[in-house]
């Protein structure tokens, strides 16, 4: 069950032009920095990326966007990225915007073998176009389908050789459900430990969902909005 790969290069092996890839993270928090950098270097193109956000102009998925490696984005919020807005409005980039809760649940469903579910989110909006509507308890719901990906790339705080993962703080966000939904799931971690070093009772992502794991070389962990109280 040893899933440790040697480095980020080995981790992203097999990611090819035109594939669909999920990326964990919320804003710049909990994103797989090392894998994103390696994908920029590798130059794979025409990617469909499923990620809550699209990074900022010069960090996170913004790096792949700037490099024109992304054909289509599936996200819930992309407000922090001017290049994104430019590519979208000019038609260079296909965009599928979906409610954040539906995005999270669609990924979880993809990993959990649930092909579709009903949610009230988006009823009566353009998100509902072409989707089945059904009333439950007097309230209209729309049918949403599951999402899966050729690769899911997630970032955790600690992970062990078997792929068991623990996230830290709000860097958990979309990582657990995307880890579930990848045909191949790559986990990059800040700290790689031996099996047995993590308490089985407090594992966020059981190793069964992870196929490859490695410790990232370094993490910038850029802060998007540094808000503080002055002493």
């Amino acid at each position: 069950m040893n899933k440790v790969v040697h480095d980020v290069q080995e981790a992203i092996q097999g990611i090819e032009n035109g594939m669909t890839i999920m990326f964990g993270g919320f804003g710049l928090c909990g994103i797989p920095e090392n894998c994103i950098a390696a994908l920029v270097r590798a130059g794979v193109r025409d990617l469909t990326c499923i990620s809550n956000n699209a990074g900022v102009d010069d960090f996170g998925l913004g790096l792949l966007l700037k490099n024109k490696q992304i054909k289509k984005m599936i996200s819930s919020y992309v407000g922090e990225n001017d290049e994104f807005e430019r590519q979208m409005l000019s038609g260079e980039l296909e965009v599928d915007l979906i409610p954040q809760g539906s995005l999270a649940e669609r990924c979880r469903a993809g990993g959990a073998g649930i092909p579709a579910f009903f949610t009230p989110a988006g009823y009566g909006t353009e998100v509902a176009h072409g989707k089945e509507v059904r009333i439950f308890n007097g309230k209209p719901h729309i049918l949403e389908s599951s999402l899966t990906a050729d690769f899911a790339i997630v970032k955790a705080w600690k992970g062990d050789h078997f792929g068991n993962l623990i996230y830290k703080g709000t860097a958990r966000n979309f990582n657990p459900m995307m880890a579930m939904a990848g045909k191949i799931t790559i986990a990059e971690v800040e700290i790689l430990v031996e099996p047995g070093d993590l308490d089985p009772n407090f594992i966020h992502t059981p190793g069964i969902f992870v196929q490859r794991i490695f410790q990232g070389e370094k993490y910038e962990k850029r802060i998007e909005q540094r808000t503080i109280r002055k002493r």
Binding site: F26, G27, L28, C29, G30, N52, S75, S76, Y77, V78, G79, E80, E85, M88, L89, V95, L97, I98, P99, Q100, G101, S102, L103, A104, E105, C107, R108, T119, P120, A121, G122, Y123, G124, T125, E126, V127, W157, Y167, K168, G169, T170, A171, R172, N173, F174, N175, P176, M177, H204, K221, R222, I223, E224, Q225, R226, T227, I228, R229, K230, R231
Partner: protein, 217 residues
């Protein structure tokens, strides 16, 4: 006329002891600063926090601890962290007692638009569509009129909708209004603002019944 802080203060009066509350970006975020003394309210941030606290002291910012607005925050005692699927389970499952969010337009039926201006601006809906589709109690915090002086309280929204028939109350710089059958029912006037002025600034049907008291902030 209220400023942003006034709007936040007035909305804070709507809080009740023991509530879990989700605050949107902008004016709604300010509401957290005006929780009435002695009242226990917990704030949920949809990126995975229950029990969100204040901004960190300078030098204690943690990149792994942000709110839904991507701002660095702290946790209160007794906080809990979770993933996005569980976060929206709380929201969709109606475990949150109050949602406060901003809007570009609200219609007299309670429709809300706040995520897209076709051809001009598309930031995405984030969690707003889940919140408005699920929350039983939704208060909109916004300006009564836009920069061009046009009413944002409309008969029908003109922008792409975020949700339909969901808004319960609206607090603006001019008034507190409630969505009822037939339109916006005027509940309170901002200090020094006349009913006539509010009426003029409201494109949708304004229902004025009886004496309209002035807000107490």
């Amino acid at each position: 006329m209220l400023d942003k802080i006034g709007i936040a203060k007035r909305i804070a009066q709507e809080l009740r002891d023991g509530w879990y509350v989700n605050l949107g970006i902008g004016i709604p975020t300010l509401v957290a600063n005006y929780v009435p003394a002695g009242m226990k309210v917990e704030f949920q941030s949809e990126n995975g926090i229950l029990g969100m606290g204040a901004f960190p002291w300078e030098g204690e910012e943690d990149a792994d601890m942000i709110n839904a607005g991507k701002q660095t925050v702290t946790l209160k005692k007794g906080a809990a962290l979770f993933d996005s699927a569980n976060s929206f389970a709380m929201i969709r499952g109606q475990h949150i007692q109050l949602t406060v969010l901003g809007a570009m337009e609200v219609s007299e039926k309670g429709d809300i638009a706040n995520w897209k201006i076709p051809g001009k601006m598309v930031k995405g809906m984030g969690g707003a569509m889940d919140l408005v589709a699920s929350a039983e109690n939704i208060i909109v915090a916004m300006m009564h009129v836009n920069k061009a002086g046009e009413s944002k309280l409309l008969k029908e929204c003109t922008l792409p909708l975020t949700g339909t028939r969901c808004v319960k109350k609206i607090v603006t710089e001019l008034a507190v209004l409630e969505i009822v059958e037939g339109g916006f029912r005027l509940l309170e006037r901002a200090p020094g603002i006349s009913v006539e002025h509010i009426d003029k600034c409201t494109e949708g049907n304004l229902i004025i019944a009886g004496e309209i008291p002035e807000m107490k902030i």
